[in-house]
């Protein structure tokens, strides 16, 4: 056990820091500028780092990926784009795609020349994703896709989508799903922004009416879609592990400063014993998240996969983020709810979700998403119970028979 960073990692961190100081844009005003920034990161070797070299990546160690993301968080660097393409779609194509698919799609994912979204969730298939009903009907050389997707992140700007659709309604629900690559620019695809409680629209709804998918764009074999979606190993695993904590820590420091200025009963809130207790508790929780991130990185560095342990990590930090933002709101009072007109000393300089400048109000609202997306806390607890603790499965009506 040695929690010091190696001299190589320290030197690498220094290089990244220097590069960011020299290359980081102050502001990103539109998608084109963000794509240009994305491209610069890629050319510098700081994006898609975990991808194998033969597919345009760096074959970098998880720690190097974590350091780059961490330095970006420290510097308040703008986020790159195409994160689902780089994080999920690309690795899926690397593992399950044909040579032709790899040649056609991979490089343009890394360079953000083609933007990707993930067409998974549906209005009636959220936590129970395998209940999805969007149908893909075999028409010989192509499929016709009909149905609706929701919570499609980046759908409005996506050129392509990684689609899960039902190809066989007669078999048990996990077995009748197939995975496809779908062109988003076609008459049968209608993308509508979904306005969230934040007032912004990071997500879309996607309606498909006889949308066409060529047979050559099927990933894996017919009926393998669920297995592919379950076993896809992203190359960016652990990448955000440290960066997330660094962002929390800078937010915490801003909160301490606010607590010095704001008063209750004639004294700074920071001198109030109750507030100090709450701050001390949140800081301890935050540090425990950081230690946990170091444990995860240790596993990844040894080439081990955290498996269901990832559920513990996700449950822990997403629930922490809610508690953290609730405390922020408590300390900031009504300032914490402002979306405009915030006095400079109470402004949030870093944002959790996208690495851009934002407001406490936005960060607070966004913290409600973390315990729902990518498997809600309840689903994570089921996974932990069944797959780590080996508890008996609950009897579920949907484990037998077909979907209809």
């Amino acid at each position: 056990m040695d929690l010091n960073y190696t001299t190589e990692d320290v030197a690498f961190r220094k290089r990244v820091r220097t590069w960011l100081e020299q290359n980081m844009p102050r502001h990103i005003r539109n998608l084109d500028e963000r794509k240009a920034w994305h491209r610069r990161l890629y050319e510098a070797g700081y994006l898609g780092m975990g991808w194998p070299k033969e597919y345009g990546g760096q074959g970098a160690r998880p720690m190097e990926q974590a350091i780059v993301a961490d330095e970006m968080a420290r510097a308040g660097a703008p986020a790159p784009t195409n994160s689902l393409g780089v994080g999920i779609v690309g690795p899926t194509i690397v593992v399950h795609g044909t040579d032709a698919q790899k040649r056609r799609y991979l490089r343009k994912i890394l360079t953000a020349e083609e933007m990707w979204c993930q067409l998974y969730s549906e209005p009636n298939a959220g936590s129970d994703l395998a209940a999805l009903r969007t149908a893909a009907e075999d028409k010989g050389d192509h499929f016709f896709v009909n149905g609706q997707k929701i919570w499609t992140s980046g759908g409005a700007v996506a050129d392509w989508g990684l689609l899960l659709a039902r190809t066989d309604p007669a078999v048990p629900k996990h077995k009748g799903i197939t995975c496809f690559l779908m062109n988003m620019h076609q008459p049968g695809v209608d993308v509508r922004p979904l306005k969230q409680i934040t007032g912004s629209s990071e997500f879309c709804e996607v309606f498909m009416t006889n949308a066409r998918v060529e047979k050559e764009n099927m990933i894996g074999r017919l009926g393998e879609g669920w297995a592919i979606a379950q076993t896809t190993l992203g190359y960016e695993r652990g990448g955000r592990a440290l960066a997330r904590i660094t962002t929390y820590a800078s937010q915490y420091k801003m909160l301490m400063e606010a607590a010095r200025r704001l008063k209750r009963n004639g004294r700074p809130i920071l001198d109030d014993a109750v507030t100090r207790q709450k701050l001390g508790r949140i800081w301890a929780d935050l540090e425990v998240e950081r230690y946990g991130a170091l444990r995860t990185l240790t596993m990844l560095e040894r080439g081990e996969h955290p498996g269901a342990g990832g559920s513990l990590t996700k449950l822990s930090y997403s629930e922490f983020e809610k508690r953290f933002m609730e405390l922020a709101e408590e300390i900031l009072g009504p300032y914490g709810q402002l979306t405009d007109g915030v006095p400079p000393e109470f402004r949030l300089e870093v944002d959790t979700a996208v690495g851009d400048h934002g407001t406490w109000a936005y960060a607070f609202l966004w913290s409600r998403a973390g315990t729902i997306y990518a498997g809600s806390s309840e689903i994570q607890k089921n996974v932990i119970g069944e797959r780590i603790l080996g508890l008996p499965k609950e009897s579920r009506a949907d484990r037998v028979g077909g979907l209809r």
Partner: protein
């Protein structure tokens, strides 16, 4: 950066677990609760032979020369077994205290004796007001010729009734000082303080003009504050490791139970209300593991954030161990509330350690105080 145990550390943990599984069964814990001295000399001798009693001391003082991470591994196993005996008092409180601040002669006098099991040590770090800040010490030390006279009342001194030497902080004219006190000398009275934890013993230690010789002063007169703070940090992390072991035992017992207990025609572990609670218990145990071993490493390595990590650790583990052990009783239902079932041994063990060496509130204040000082610089 490597947050995993070495092969040697894993071997150590496995051998401690194997020995305690065999010799420190729950029947042993229960038997020792009825014993006058409260611990087994045979097992104590065995622990000396296995090198546990000198684990963190230098080799020239009869120790194994290992660090706080290894010590935490042993303490976690002791919590897991609810080991009844003066291990923590002797090795962590007394031993590390002497190691941190003792003179060469004091180390040579005591550390080999502690390591061989011939002597047992302890420390009297708490007074009536239960304030863990060393500055709150009210016991006094006055010079009487060549020696010192100590007066005052110390509370919750672990295993004082079997100790050969107790570290006692007292206020000398020069300021807070630390003394090695033989609890059997005239002027020292020991009265048992009986708590709910069956695996630990505490005493009140009353000093009335108790004479201690000049060479019993640890460090310089008035120079004990830093030493006591260092010792308290190590005690806080050590106690957290012990609580972690107790919490993991409660989790293991609970998971085992809900896999076999049936109600409404089903195993209760298949109910989400139970499963989710078990998942939360595991999360708390794993987070506590991170907190304990990070802090143990940080203190051992002299890392910049060692003091902070110790406070993070104790504040986190104090509450999570209480929650996990309490949830253990809850998922067991009625059986978990019986004296006969073992769960309460670990529940009480963790509960007893929760307020000691600073409770969660104490350490949260330490965290914020450190941050405010840092940002004022």
């Amino acid at each position: 950066m490597n947050f995993s145990f070495t092969e040697d550390q894993i071997l150590l943990r496995n051998s401690v677990r194997a020995a305690l599984d065999e010799q420190c069964t729950s029947a042993h814990v229960r038997a020792m609760a009825e014993d006058a001295r409260g611990y087994s000399e045979a097992l104590w001798g065995e622990m000396a032979k296995l090198g546990w009693l000198g684990l963190p001391f230098a080799e020239e003082q009869g120790g194994a020369g290992l660090g706080l991470v290894e010590l935490a591994l042993v303490l976690e196993e002791m919590g897991r077994a609810a080991y009844p005996g003066p291990y923590f008092a002797s090795v962590v409180l007394g031993g590390l205290g002497i190691q941190l601040g003792g003179s060469r002669a004091q180390k040579e006098r005591w550390l080999p004796a502690i390591a061989s099991g011939q002597a047992r040590a302890s420390a009297a770090l708490l007074e009536d007001a239960l304030d863990w800040d060393p500055a709150s010490t009210t016991a006094t030390a006055v010079r009487a010729g060549d020696s010192w006279r100590l007066s005052g009342v110390k509370r919750f001194v672990p295993w004082a009734h079997v100790a050969d030497v107790v570290l006692v902080p007292a206020r000398a004219p020069e300021g807070l000082s630390l003394f090695l006190v033989d609890p059997r000398v005239a002027g020292v009275t020991i009265t048992p303080m009986v708590g709910i934890d069956l695996s630990n013993r505490w005493s009140e230690l009353r000093l009335a003009d108790a004479a201690v010789s000049a060479d019993a002063l640890v460090g310089s007169p008035g120079g004990a504050t830093g030493l006591l703070e260092s010792l308290l940090r190590r005690a806080a992390v050590g106690a957290s490791a012990d609580m972690l072991g107790a919490a993991r035992r409660c989790l293991d017992l609970s998971v085992g139970y809900v896999k076999v207990r049936e109600q409404f025609g089903q195993l209760i572990g298949s109910f989400q209300a139970i499963r989710h609670r078990c998942a939360e218990m595991l999360l708390e145990v794993e987070n506590s593991h991170s907190a304990v071993y990070y802090a143990a490493w940080a203190l051992a390595a002299g890392a910049e954030d060692g003091a902070m990590a110790a406070s993070v650790c104790k504040s986190y583990v104090s509450e999570s161990a209480r929650k996990v052990c309490g949830d253990g009783i809850q998922v067991h239902g009625g059986i978990g509330f019986t004296w006969e079932y073992d769960l309460h041994l670990y529940f009480k063990r963790a509960k007893a350690l929760e307020p000691l060496y600073g409770d969660a509130a104490h350490h949260r204040e330490q965290i914020v105080r450190g941050q405010v000082l840092h940002s004022d610089k």
